[in-house]
């Protein structure tokens, strides 16, 4: 679960990490009021769960109430990489004399958290990572012992030679770890970590991604969920035990298992088609799940054919077939559909489906080819 900047900054401040005390608003008049409360100049910042908002024009400086309102009007409703801006953070604009980077994530290879720090912070940190990786320093973190003061100090003295700056930064680093650990985050990042002209160190931006698997331990974090429309569809799917990601192709896919679902999408693409989505209905495919999954596919106006790909493992193919028949009996389906069933009791499953006039195949590549053909032929009806 990604948090927005204003949420992450609030959590940072709760953990003793200095961050500007801004105000979150959802309208231009509120942006005006907030800017007056804060005092000028202010920064008006789009709250979206993606990077690159600065380059997209989602961050503007404002020196007066009118400028703040204008900036807010310009940014609200803006589309940034598919996210519509619905919220703004009005922050005091501070005098910055240097931009640095610190972040913590879990290193899949080392299998432990790692802190990254760089003296080259700011917007282009990913470019720095790709082009001059030696400018990013790494500190592995023992997950039982946490980031220790001396480890943070060692990193901080590589960013700053002055005692106050280095020690302030090392405290922020330790607190960033505490924040990461306390919240069960998978990412906690400050970019830029700014050196201000008054020699203080402050988090000017904030990014936190929480571990969905650990949210049960942090019930209050659920209140921070601010789903976007596309998030909402995925969350709705999740509540029914489905894992769904919408794309923009023509073949709606329903598959059991994430790996098999990706393989199905790949084979569609391999054969010249385009998958409309990723949809994993999980190990056991109950009729209710299939109904909900079908609703998701049908509600996507781009879908021109449906491909159901089920591998009967523990679940038997005849059970799956019966479930599918039951599920489809309640739906008025106006799209062509191909079902591929294989694994335990596949013959029986295919027979059950054929009796109800459902095209059922044993072979995944063949089924994908058939779905693409049907999408091109009959899909024009919608």
């Amino acid at each position: 679960m990604k948090l927005e900047e204003f949420q992450a900054k609030k959590l940072f401040r709760e953990h003793g990490i200095p961050a500007p005390e801004g105000i979150m608003v959802t309208s231009a008049p509120d942006a005006r009021d907030a800017s007056e409360k804060i005092g000028f100049p202010v920064v008006v910042k789009a709250q979206v769960k993606t990077g690159g908002r600065g380059k997209a024009g989602g961050v503007r400086l404002a020196g007066s109430p009118d400028e703040a309102q204008e900036a807010a009007e310009a940014i609200l409703g803006m589309d940034i990489k598919g996210y519509t801006v619905e919220r703004l953070l009005i922050d005091p604009a501070l005098r910055i004399s240097g931009e640095y980077y610190i972040g913590i994530t879990v290193d899949r290879k080392r299998k432990i958290p790692v802190m990254m720090a760089s003296a080259s912070g700011g917007m282009d940190i990913e470019k720095v990572a790709a082009e001059t990786p030696e400018r990013i320093i790494f500190q592995p973190i023992d997950p039982h012992r946490g980031l220790r003061g001396f480890e943070a100090k060692k990193l901080a003295f590589r960013l700053f030679s002055k005692k106050k700056r280095a020690m302030d930064t090392s405290f922020i680093m330790v607190r960033l770890w505490q924040c990461f650990n306390d919240l069960d985050a998978t990412l906690a990042e400050i970019n830029p970590l700014a050196l201000l002209e008054d020699d203080s160190i402050m988090a000017l931006d904030a990014k936190i991604v929480l571990d969905d698997n650990a949210l049960y331990r942090h019930p209050r974090m659920e209140d921070m969920r601010l789903p976007t429309p596309s998030d909402q569809k995925e969350l709705g799917a999740k509540s029914h035990g489905l894992s769904y990601v919408q794309l923009d192709g023509e073949i709606g896919c329903m598959v059991n298992g994430a790996g098999l679902a990706m393989a199905t999408m790949d084979v569609i693409k391999h054969l010249g088609g385009t998958p409309a989505n990723f949809l994993d209905i999980g190990g056991s495919s109950s009729p209710e799940k299939v109904v909900h999954a079908m609703d998701l596919l049908v509600s996507d106006p781009n879908v021109r054919a449906i491909l159901i790909n089920v591998f009967g493992g523990i679940t038997r193919c005849d059970d799956v077939a019966n479930g599918l028949v039951q599920a489809l009996s309640g739906i008025d389906l106006d799209l062509p559909m191909v079902v591929r069933l294989t694994g335990t009791n596949e013959e029986e499953g295919i027979r059950i489906l054929s009796e109800r006039g459902i095209n059922a195949l044993k072979d995944m590549t063949g089924a994908a080819r058939e779905a693409i053909r049907l999408a091109r032929e009959g899909g024009g009806a919608r």
Partner: protein, 291 residues
């Protein structure tokens, strides 16, 4: 031969909930040497003739179990893994899905210190066909033979194995290592064992987007592995930055894309299949007539 488990592996199941008791029964049916079950509060009773214990320590003391398959719900699963490892079990297979990543980070570190091997979590487990099953794989699609299979996925493994079996290529051991960001054993850990296993003639690596485990495997194969390897990577059609069900499938850098992986494998001399059907062809070539 096979790796990690065979017909003599004394196995236990932790957590006799709905899934745990179903799969314990399935394992018994498959021929796994199931010697104990663990379910707090049911100590002293029995499950299909197998003794049930309150704690892993008692189970290991009484039955010398060497392998434990964990079905305990996510909030308690990390503790259950640690319990078995601290009780002296050599191999823990964690089927449970949804364990927090920081929990796993701590678990993996402690298991390393204890010298306990871990497969998973969020994995279908492993099977040495005709000998033993420690997990939830559908036993009927497997056949004993020379192909080792290592995968990050569940149903995709079944798909691949099913095609292999239909084509007459049996398996020595097939493993679903799990798709979470932090898992126990990875490709290289299994490859090291497959290299020494005389039954295994070829290994199929089924990978997916996210991380760089497949690159590490290719690197290992090109330096230290004496048998043919066939690769298959899914997620070529996944858009960057989207989760595809597995937490492991977050595109986090250039090297975690399917294209990067396929390219790296090929550069290291590993043939990569575009479809499941192609895997079978490449395996047939790799085995050169051996089955």
């Amino acid at each position: 031969m096979s790796i990690l488990i065979d017909g003599k592996t004394r196995t236990m199941v932790q957590g006799l909930g709905r899934d745990g008791s179903f799969h314990a029964g399935q394992m018994l049916e498959y021929g796994t040497d199931l010697v104990a079950c663990i379910h707090p509060g049911r100590g002293g009773s029995s499950f299909q003739g197998i003794p049930v214990f309150n704690t892993a320590q008692e189970a290991v003391e009484e039955t010398d179990a060497e392998c434990s398959v964990v079905f305990v719900p996510a909030p308690f699963a990390a503790d259950a893994i640690l319990e078995s490892a601290n009780a002296g079990v050599e191999l823990v297979v964690a089927v449970t899905e949804g364990i927090p990543v920081l929990d796993m980070s701590r678990v993996v570190r402690e298991l390393d210190e204890l010298g306990t091997r871990l497969v998973g979590p969020n994995c279908p487990g492993l099977i040495s066909p005709g000998k033993s099953k420690a997990g939830i794989m559908p036993g009927n699609i497997f056949r004993q033979g020379p192909v080792g299979v290592i995968s990050r996925s569940g149903t995709l493994t079944y798909e691949v194995v099913n095609q292999l079996t239909l084509a007459g290529h049996g398996q020595s051991t097939a493993i679903g290592m799990g798709g979470d960001p932090v898992v126990g054993m990875k490709y290289n850990d299994f490859l090291r064992l497959f290299d020494r296993d005389p039954e295994t003639g070829l290994v199929v690596i089924v990978g997916e987007i996210g991380g760089s485990d497949e690159q590490d495997a290719a690197d290992f194969v090109s330096r230290n592995f004496s048998k043919p390897v066939v690769g298959y990577i899914v997620g070529r059609s996944a858009p960057p930055g989207k989760r595809m069900g597995h937490a492991g499938a977050i595109i986090s850098g250039a090297e975690s894309t399917a294209e990067a992986k396929v390219g790296f494998l090929r550069e290291n001399g590993i043939p990569v299949a575009d479809t499941v059907e192609q895997i079978v062809e490449l395996v047939s070539e790799g085995l050169g007539g051996r089955n």
